[in-house]
Amino acid sequence: MPTDTIPRPTRPSPWRNPAVRSMVVQVLFVAAVLALGAFLVHNTVVNLRRQNIAGGFGFLDREAAFGIGEALIAYTPADTYARAFLVGLLNTLYVAGLGVVLATILGTVMGIARLSRNWLVSKLAQIYVETFRNIPLLLQLFFWWGLLRETAPAPRLAWQPLPDVFVSNRGIAFAVPSPDPAYGWMALAFLVGLAATIGAFRWARQRQAQTGQQFPTGWIGLGLVVGLPLAMFLLSGAPLTLDRPEMKGFNFTGGHAVSPEFAALLLGLVIYSGTFIAEIVRAGILAVSWGQTEAAMALGLHPIQRMRLIVLPQALRVIIPPMTSQYLSLTKNSSLAVAIGYPDLVSVTNTMINQTGQAVEGIAMIMAVYLTISLIISALMNVYNRSVALVER
């Protein structure tokens, strides 16, 4: 047999072994990254020692000694840096939370308006989207801030676009209902109504699964959620007294007033993000093909059922992932507050860094906060997304 004439293949060199190679490449890569990191850390330590800056977070317990214009919790310059940081964090969360809600409303309305068969309405929505999407957010913030701070008149001559709303260079003052114990009960009634609606939904779904009979949960739920608080309101004698802003001295007292900085920041964030949300909503609705609607009609579903059971679940599947990143970028964009002087997280920490020189710690704290917010929002949206995602094999 001539088999012995074929030479036995020699063992390939270890370098030809994919496992060995990948190990070597990875070790080299990690070593390079670590070396770069070590080089930077070493330089930083040396430089900090030269500048006599002690590292660590001990400075957080020291007295801040700077004022913050707007705070949601009690704060004085005698408080610690840690508390100042907390004030900034709460301000960021406040403006971002409000911004997300308002931008979603504006964006959804504009996205639907762009699809309207009414030529004028869809053109107006298109002009809004194209204009404000193509102008940098920071420029828009400066514009609104300049408008409110410089162009708006003194409180005595304040513009009054709506009754009981006053726009002046001191900010926007508007009427709010005066506090009344009835509002607490109304909130409770709202929660009870909500719980009852959820219960009704579960029960109705079970009954429909067992007997096939439908139950008008939509109307019942609406009645519970709106009706119970309304009943409570009427029962306690409809206590609606408005706390109106009034001129006293050089500024308004009473009502609720927001600073020009806050108003400009919120306005800019909502208008800018609203354009992106409008495009997302429009794309989501367009992604559900007309055949789906026709099929739903053929099944005899009425328009609300068609929207709720057929179109919306499919549109949401397309809408949610980009919407998540819009919410995240709105939150991150709220950091531009530092440019117009609203005391958000970044601007408070910036003051802190300038006073103490603890740049590394300060920036690490800001980054940690934003990373945490990003992770939480994307985790929540992922949970929601999973509930509407297409279930595949």
């Binding site: 430089n47 009414n118 999407r133 193509n134 102008i135 420029l139 910036n350 934003y370």
Partner: protein, 366 residues
Amino acid sequence: MTDVTQELPIVVEPPPPATAGPLGWLRANLFSNVFNTILTILAAALLAVTIPPIIRWALFDAIWTAPNSRACRGAGACWAFIHEKLRFILFGTFPYEEQWRPLLAVVIFIALIVASCDRRLWGRSLAFLWLLGLVAVGVLMWGGIFGLSFVGNQLWSGLPLTLILAVVGMAFAFPLAILLALGRRSQLPAVRTICVAYIELIRGVPLITVLFMASVMLPLFLPAGMTIDKLLRAQVAIILFAAAYLAEVVRGGLQAIPKGQIEAADALGLTYWQRTRRIVLPQALALVIPPLVNTFIGTFKDTTLVIIIGLFDLLGTINAALNDANWRGTSTEAYIFAAAIYFCFCFFMSRYSQMLEREFNKGRRQ
């Protein structure tokens, strides 16, 4: 048997008057039902209330030339401010006599951007053109040779600075982004983890923190005695930031390449880098050109943030011009002017990317 088929004269009747012509268009698009009619009336009322005062303010009552803002106080816009400050807004602190140089640089940038829109030019020659253009811009801005006087980059400002930050930022972020995207798709766990960590870290924080880091911490990172100027710090921050976003765009393209392509390349015996360079990347990058343009628009808008660390880009020179005590109270006009410039660039590019997207999708639609 009677003939049922009768010859009837065909009468061509005009369509009912209410479905054709301008009236029909109005009816179909504005007044098709009660709800639509109400919407139309509301929208028209809104326009009637807002548009005439704005036009009066911006055109008829506007003051076009005036020595200062006090002489300009009136019912209308004070465009005299723009008229007076135009050169400072556009070119900032660049030496006055030499401002033809940044002007030429801006023209080169615009010409390059316009040339890049022509798909016939896409390829090696365009890259060469860009390289040539960037060298020309560098020579014009810095000077020091060909008889041009040297101008330090701390004097660069206005529109050329904005364009340089955006274009150079993208040019350097792009190769970095490709490496990051390849790393994220890599089969080597250590490489993948580090790339994912970098991308997610940068995407999870606002640009402003990266800029702060570059302006405050970059000097700390470097060995003693080594300094790095403000413009370069901002440019590094923009590159690092844009690279993370671009990497995700490129990854989108990489994921869209069918596995068969990679298997075919393997079957041909190509190495990883041959396969990536000759098979995967050319297809993947072609797919992601529209989102690349969008990322460029985002970077262009983001460059405005450099004013927070003390550079004078277009928005920065506007703010500096507004600080002139002679021109108080003209911020609305100034920002509208700046907005118009940014809008022209961004709107043109976004329209272009939409057009590309339509072109690319032509073959895919049934």
